[in-house]
Amino acid sequence: MKRASTWCASFASFFALILFSGCQKPTPNAQEFQKSLQERLINAKPGDAIDLPEGKFHFDRTVSLTVNGVTLRGKGMDKTILSFAGQTTGAQGVLVKADDFVIQDLAIEDTAGDALTIQGGRNITVRRVRVEWTRGPNESNGPYGIYPVECKNLLVEDSIARGAADAGIYVGQSENVVLRRNRVENNVDGFEIENTENVDAYENIATHNTGGMGVFNLPNLPRQGGRHVRVYNNQLIDNNTPNFAPKSLGPIHSLPTGTGMYILAIRNVEVFHNKIQNNNTVNVYIVHYKTVVDDEALRDTAASPITQQIFAPDDKRYYPFVQDIYFHDNEISGGGTSPDNRLTGVKALSDALGGKLPDFLYDGMVDPKWGHKPNSGQICLQKNGDATFLNFDAAGQMKHPVHDLKPYSCSLAPLARVSIPQIAVSAPGGK
């Protein structure tokens, strides 16, 4: 009995050997690195730091983390490179669904979709991370570079995003966010702050994007009511890269090339000590939601029962107006010199104004509930150099444009600093 079973065992292993010798992997090292990193992330314990060596490592599949309290760090954003060129599985590069996560000193390149996605995390730090599509602006690039969504207590600092077909650094449906000392270039949108509450964005540079920074709310997302955003000491300069977002990405395809900053359907935004310069369509664009989505198309709907059901209630939680916006002490100049005539709205406006647009462009849309006093939206613009202004009276079909800044030279109470645990720890008693 014993002899027979031993014989069977050795025979079986011989058989297995034959079977396995036929299937070798094409690039064992890349596959091994990818597999071992994924295994380390799965088997990580809270408090673990996972160190990645110098080198360029190829991935064909999303790498993900779900363990709380993990630090993933390389040897530098130009030394440790995770390359997803030719990715076949999963859209994201690195996907994180965990709290207390730190990622630093590495690069994520050429992902099929978003480079770094962080979903639903608390206490998230992204530090000295570079995300990039190395072929430069291209409509096939992934939409987002750094993409935290539904996060709380988020710090993105000293990072770089290049080539995103939507936004280089995006923050969505989050609260308590600090974005500082980042550089975004050659993206469609440099920064996007969407449906997010309590944000400090400072000492960032957005240049050579289609648009420098958007601060806005959109309907039909689970988290509504983004507000309280401070933008200071940033440079939003020379964002004139032709819009390369594919139509498939939706509204971002219609972002005018040469937009410094846009503020859409949000309240409590304070913008100060920034340089917003040389953005060829407009340095600052302040608008109601329906000024940028096609309101007429919505009204012209072939009112079937289903369509009515959809549009009649709309999203009742959504508030499309802009209010309580305070721009002060900014250096704003040189904008609007060659507006993006690709867009009919922009073209109509710039044609009416002799081919140029002012530094500030405001649609003047106000909620009738605010009453009929002037500037009932409380758009306050003060000490912004020689910045020019136009309220183009969208509601009145541009019949009563306002160039005069006086009704808008008001001030609002400063917004409070955003406090997150990451910063309290690294700079006790900071400003």
């Binding site: 058989f15 079977l19 969505g172 039909n220 498939s248 289903i306 369509t307 959809i310 549009f311």
Partner: protein, 363 residues
């Protein structure tokens, strides 16, 4: 390659070995109970769970390991799926109307994925996934079958597998079957960061099954053998349509059942794609929540299209565009679909074409 004569010897020898193994096991193992592990470490070999008869390629279940199937399952690259459930003796699941049942600690949900092999009567077993209800949570475990089909081993990051076969209808399939890693299990199974079973819901289990003891409604079978408590009267039990059987529901019913089983695990509040605002659960009836005339908000590639779902116009609907793609940033579901489910897409095309109305300025 092995010469033909050698192959025959191999076959004879294999039979002989199997015979020996059977002899060894027959004395002690046929009544050997399922190995109820509720904490780490979990068995490295599938056989160590004792869910199936030791040498059986046919997944002959052990005592108490009960097979089941679903009215409308998740499409998984045309894989055949064999599902079983086991619960510790004396325990039972609590009936739930909408969500998966509340299963007791120790429960093992077992799903084996298999594909046809050209020229072979039997399928190739690729992986067996377990969901184990531990003391604190559901634990997903993936066991990958060896080429000899004699054993499956626990892996956290399984390698992809090349699949090639011609279906009964003559369609050729060649693709790389990507097996989800332990993290990717969470992509579909997590809700509010808690991993949950997806399939075993009342509406999907409410169907007949041909047990060895005879055909019986699965819910009633579970209740009769003590695996289910709280089963309401037949009229109060929800029943999902079978997506491919018009006898079981209208086009609308079957399309909603398909969306429920293939999309709603992510597209519901608290799911992986909850942030999109789209909710495909068949239990919710807000038409605006199913993507009708809804612009996509932040994520994904959508072709030159404006809305998730345009009534009457499947070709203008992002939903169809993404189901017909296998490209990484376009395809939906984002995981575990490496080929297009042509029959499923046809169902949804027919359904969208049947919906009245239109969307503003849709192309």
């Amino acid at each position: 390659m092995i010469p033909r004569s050698a192959r025959r010897r191999v076959a004879r020898l294999a039979l002989f070995c199997a015979g020996i193994v059977a002899v060894i096991y027959c004395g002690c193992s046929s009544q050997r109970a399922v190995n109820a592990r509720v904490e780490e470490p979990f068995p490295k070999k599938l056989s160590d769970w004792h869910l199936f008869a030791a040498t059986s390629k046919a997944l002959q279940p052990n005592n108490g390991v009960v097979p089941y199937d679903l009215n409308t399952p998740l499409f998984s690259d045309y894989a055949s799926k064999y599902r079983f459930v086991w619960m510790p003796p004396g325990t039972s699941a609590q009936y739930r109307d909408d969500s998966a049942f509340e299963f007791p600690v120790g429960t093992i949900l077992v799903k084996t994925f298999a594909f046809p092999v050209d020229g072979h009567p039997t399928e190739r077993l690729v992986e067996t996934r377990l969901l184990v209800r531990t003391k604190s949570e559901w634990k997903p475990l993936s066991y990958i079958w060896n080429d000899a089909q004699s054993e499956a081993s626990l892996e956290t990051v399984p390698d992809p597998v090349k699949i090639r076969f011609t279906s009964a209808s003559g369609k050729r399939h060649e693709f790389t079957y990507v097996i989800p890693n332990a993290n990717e299990c969470h992509e579909c199974h997590d809700n509010q960061k808690m991993l949950l079973p997806i399939g075993p819901k009342a509406r999907n289990l409410n169907k007949d099954y041909a047990y060895s003891s005879g055909t019986e409604n699965q819910l009633e079978h579970f209740a009769r053998i003590g695996y289910l408590q709280g089963l309401p009267a037949p009229a109060a039990r929800p029943r999902s349509a079978k997506w491919d059987d018009p006898q079981t529901g209208s086009l609308d019913d079957r399309a909603r059942a398909y969306l429920d089983s293939n999309c709603a695990h992510c597209h519901q509040p608290g799911g992986q794609a909850g942030y999109t605002g789209v909710d495909f659960r068949s239990t919710q009836h807000e038409v605006a929540q199913q993507g009708l005339c809804k612009s996509p908000n932040s994520a994904g590639a959508v072709g030159a299209l404006s809305f998730d779902l345009v009534p009457g116009h499947p070709d203008d609907s992002i939903l169809i565009y993404r189901l017909e793609s296998t490209a990484p940033k376009v395809s939906m579901p984002a995981l575990s679909r490496d080929v297009v489910h042509e029959e499923g897409v046809k169902l949804l095309r027919d359904w969208i074409a049947s919906l009245p109305g239109g969307c503003p300025a849709s192309r």
